[in-house]
């Protein structure tokens, strides 16, 4: 566990040592800020519902960009070999890198805390959905990070890792909009798979164990798949 913590800390610092962190954060804030405030005054409601409504789609693009380098870069420059011959196991590597990804997503959300604060000045803001929304955002970020880490474990090319991660995360986000194409029997399964539905539930301020279990399952499946890929590599 100590090893995982070392790796996580190193990865988190590595984000801020290169320009990628600042670019990703800037784009994230720009996109969410623009889409949120462009309609905010038209609705004339003191709520963050639009911000959170948009978040899964934005995350489907941003989170794979955050996680794409975690393993692919190591494979590419060969440092994976030096890392793995230090006294660490596969699980330390995966948990450490996953934790760094989640921590980065959380750090990315911190500047958006000015939205609820400013909105609270403009009207009576209901803080329940806001807290739920941020909790959901971290859970969603964690689930997408796990998927992104798995994509990163598949290849030594960061672009490929990004595209695979994007494809999976985007599918998970939009799958509930596709249900009318499929036979009735699969509708229940497909709508359970939809990250967006679970996220919106949490963002309403309703903390339901089913939603929490969903996000934790996606995390577990993503990380375990990454673990198997690393194991199969040698």
């Amino acid at each position: 566990m100590r090893q995982a913590l070392c790796i996580g800390r190193k990865e988190f610092n590595a984000y801020f040592a290169s320009p990628i962190a600042y670019i990703v954060i800037a784009i994230f804030l720009l996109v969410t800020g623009w889409f949120f405030f462009s309609t905010f005054f038209l609705f004339n409601q003191a709520s963050l519902r639009n911000f959170f409504g948009l978040l899964p789609t934005v995350f489907a693009f941003v989170v794979p960009a955050v996680t794409m380098r975690l393993l692919a870069e190591e494979f590419n420059i060969g440092s994976y070999e030096t890392l793995l011959t230090l006294p660490v196991g596969f699980n330390d590597v995966i948990i450490g890198k996953f934790a760094a990804g989640v921590a980065f997503v959380a750090a990315m959300l911190i500047p958006t805390l000015v939205y609820p604060v400013t909105v609270a000045f403009l009207g009576a803001l209901d803080w329940g959905p806001v807290i739920g929304g941020y909790l959901g955002a971290v859970l969603l970020g964690a689930a997408f990070s796990a998927v992104g880490l798995f994509a990163s474990a598949l290849t030594r090319n960061q672009i490929v890792a990004f595209i695979i991660g994007l494809a999976v995360c985007f599918s998970l986000t939009l799958v509930d909009q596709m249900v009318f194409f499929v036979p009735q029997a699969f509708v229940g399964v497909l709508s359970y798979l939809a990250a967006d539905v679970h996220f919106q539930n949490v963002a309403k301020g309703i903390i339901d164990t089913r939603d929490i279990v969903y996000f934790l399952s996606v995390c577990f499946i993503g990380l375990y798949a990454a673990f198997l890929v690393l194991k199969a590599r040698n």
Partner: protein
């Protein structure tokens, strides 16, 4: 210290390492020699636990690679070929990261990094990003990385490739210094390097061990077909040829062009016996003047070519 038995590795259908076995004692420096693609790197990667062997056993210290991998990693230091390190980290930060992973606590950490800085000569680049370092410095940072935990077993994959002659001498010096108390295994395709640094050499070819013995011994046994050079004065070439060809063990006598009344001979001998004593006895019985008499064993270079040439 290291025991390898019937180690085999297949990449899909390609056999990279084929049933090799060797032992390394504590305080011994083993050089793995071989042409490119012989299986040296694959062997070292399995030794360090980075690759899983297809079959075979590896034991390091009291631990087996199958169930004690983490314990092995704790007593082992490894520098992969061309020192792949994180490019955007500072040297100091990187060494600190390695110390953390090695479980070297904060009080000990700084002094250890300083020691390694002195040993490997990287103090002046401590605060530069690894990606900006020259090849030689990066190799030294890699060496510092490998020696962080003062390892019982040090494994180095082509540690001197890409270095300038001065750096090569320095790195060899470090290897020899460490090799006095610790076990060192390193690979190289430079023969003079193995000759200069190793106690023992294992030549790998096509994934098999073609020869494994002490450096001096290897030269003696495989140099069995040695050559003896003679220079005689006041001698008749025909008589010399007749006389010396009769000595048991001498397979061929070649008389080189005489110069200044002396003749130069090259005798080729087989490995069965050492003809030198007999040769000397016979020459003493004649009235030839012996000017020169020395044996040349095959150099490691020739042995290597002999063993690894395509049949």
């Amino acid at each position: 210290m290291i025991r390898v038995e019937n180690l085999t590795k297949y990449y899909d259908d390609v056999c990279a390492v084929d049933q090799i076995s060797f032992n390394v004692q504590r305080g011994e420096i083993l050089g793995l020699l071989g042409p490119n693609g012989a299986g040296k790197t694959t062997t070292l990667r399995m030794l360090t636990g980075f690759l899983q062997p297809t079959a075979g056993q590896i034991q390091i210290g009291n631990f087996s690679i199958n169930d004690g991998l983490l314990e092995i990693k704790k007593i082992l230091g490894y520098l992969p070929e061309s020192a792949p390190l994180y490019h955007d980290m500072l040297v100091f930060d990187y060494l600190k990261f390695v110390a953390d992973l090695r479980g070297i606590g904060a009080p000990r950490r700084l002094s250890r990094i300083r020691e390694l800085g002195d040993l490997c000569g990287i103090n002046e680049v401590m605060h530069q990003p690894i990606g900006e370092l020259s090849r030689g410095y990066r190799q030294r940072v890699g060496l510092a990385h490998a020696m962080m935990n003062d390892p019982e077993v040090l494994v180095l994959d082509e540690p001197t490739s890409g270095l300038d002659p001065n750096q090569i001498v320095e790195i060899r010096e470090i290897i020899r210094r460490i090799g006095k108390a610790k076990t060192v295994v390193f690979s190289t395709h430079i023969l003079s390097e193995a000759e200069a640094t190793c106690d023992r050499v294992a030549i790998i070819h096509h994934g098999k061990i073609a020869a494994d013995s002490r450096t001096a011994h290897l030269k003696e046994t495989l140099g069995g077909r040695s050559q003896i050079q003679l220079m005689l004065e006041q001698a008749d070439p025909a008589a010399v040829q007749r006389e010396l060809a009769a000595v048991p063990g001498v397979t061929r006598v070649e008389v080189l062009a005489p110069a200044d009344g002396a003749i130069r001979l090259v005798l080729t001998c087989d490995a069965s016996r050492d003809p030198r004593a007999e040769l000397y006895r016979r020459i003493r019985q004649t009235d030839w003047t012996l000017l020169e008499f020395h044996q040349e064993t095959l150099s490691l270079e020739e042995i290597f070519r002999e063993l690894t040439k395509e049949s």
